[in-house]
């Protein structure tokens, strides 16, 4: 499979050239154009039968669009939000991605839901994680610009700004500061990361757009 990420940092989209019988799995609705011989079909991910798991999955459906053809074909896919697309090669390792940032992967990659912690579950933030592991290509996206940081120690990030992070990092979810700060300061939940590892951050959040638009609605 050959791929080319175009349009970063503002409007990342991925051109893929599939060889005969090669498959790519993409987030529902992400296909934007494809050669006439390809068909959209679907694949169910994992064993998430319980309704509770499905609700917690939030940003991602547990079905993925599946594209393949005996003769191969071309397709282009893009995330729902404008921003950057990042490719990550998995080689018998894993990476944690926020549910809304997952874009696509090849069949050798396993996607599993991970708890974000009780606070995340009941906050209504829908902020919880997926764990991508195995062998293959993983694509994730950011809302706005994507920033890579090497953490060595502790670092606090507003939950909406987290895209992905290496499993060597530990994290804690909390409200920012004391209760008054949390309610009044306008900040929502934050994740405090500790340890050594790489983290991917985004410079905008869809929740930020919603808060900004709300007083301006007609």
């Amino acid at each position: 499979m050959k791929f080319d990420i175009k349009g970063n940092p503002a409007y990342g989209e991925v051109d893929v050239d599939l060889g005969p019988n090669e498959t790519i799995l993409i987030e529902p609705g992400a296909m934007s154009r494809m050669s006439s011989n390809l068909n959209s079909s679907f694949q169910r991910q994992g064993g998430f039968f319980s309704a509770m798991f499905r609700k917690m999955f939030g940003g991602e459906n547990f079905f993925l669009g599946k594209y393949s053809h005996q003769n191969g074909g071309q397709l282009t896919f893009a995330p729902s939000s404008p921003g950057s697309v990042q490719h990550y090669q998995l080689s018998n390792n894993s990476i944690n991605i926020m549910a809304g940032s997952f874009l696509a992967c090849t069949p050798g990659v396993n996607i599993k839901a991970k708890f974000g912690g009780l606070k995340a579950l009941f906050s209504g933030e829908g902020a919880f994680l997926l764990e991508a592991s195995g062998d293959g290509d993983l694509f994730f996206n950011s809302f706005g610009g994507i920033v890579e940081k090497e953490i060595n120690g502790e670092f606090i990030v507003d939950t909406g700004h987290v895209v992905a992070f290496e499993p060597s990092l530990n994290y804690k979810i909390s409200g920012m500061g004391n209760w008054k700060s949390t309610m009044l300061s306008g900040e929502g939940l934050v994740m405090t990361f500790s340890g050594v590892g790489k983290i991917y951050l985004q410079t905008r959040t869809i929740e930020g757009v919603a808060s900004w638009l709300t007083p301006r609605l007609i």
Partner: protein, 233 residues
Amino acid sequence: MKIKIDSEGAFGSAVVKLEPGEKFVSEAGAMYRASPNMGIDVESRKKQNEGMWGALKAGIKSMFAGESFFLSSYMTNDNQSGEVGLAPTHQGEVRKITVGNETWICSGGSYLGSSGSIELDTQYQGLLKGGFSGEGLVFVKASGEGELLVNGFGRISEVEVRDGITIDNGHLIAFTEGLEYTIGKAGSGWISSMMSGEGLVMKFRGNGKIFVQSHDPGRLGGALGALLPPRES
């Protein structure tokens, strides 16, 4: 007339410099800045020789195209040169297309503006196609000689079509007249099409050029709308 397109960042816009007597037309309300001598008038959408009834028909048709009922037209009012800046609603690129040998058909919401010499017509797509393409019932046809400005959500790519291509709903900007399209299922069956999230797609046939946008505003609208307070109607 000079058209300067600013598409360096993610928010494309165009500044049109007009000499005295030159006219430019745009989607109503697209102007965001102008020199103080720029006269702005409202025009109805009609062909050269049609009267008010033609204008009304065209206007109503346009509303279904996702365009507004009227067009704004610009000309300086003091016999000096002037400038007018045009910007679309969404973030994304603005592209200039030179109309001449080819006639271009723009999907609803993609038309931004055009030089006064271009003839604009609204083209009814038919209930089946228009109702399901997600692009609107009516497209805007631009013919003649001059410059056409289109806008897209995301980045704009030009695709050369030789046999055919499938474009997902929500990604079409404009195509050359001569290309034919049908609305079809994305997958081989209805369940496949719906479960993959793609639903319906536009299948193009023939030879020509298509401008497509990288992102689909409907997908962002869905994600954003879900986070907003409910509306009354």
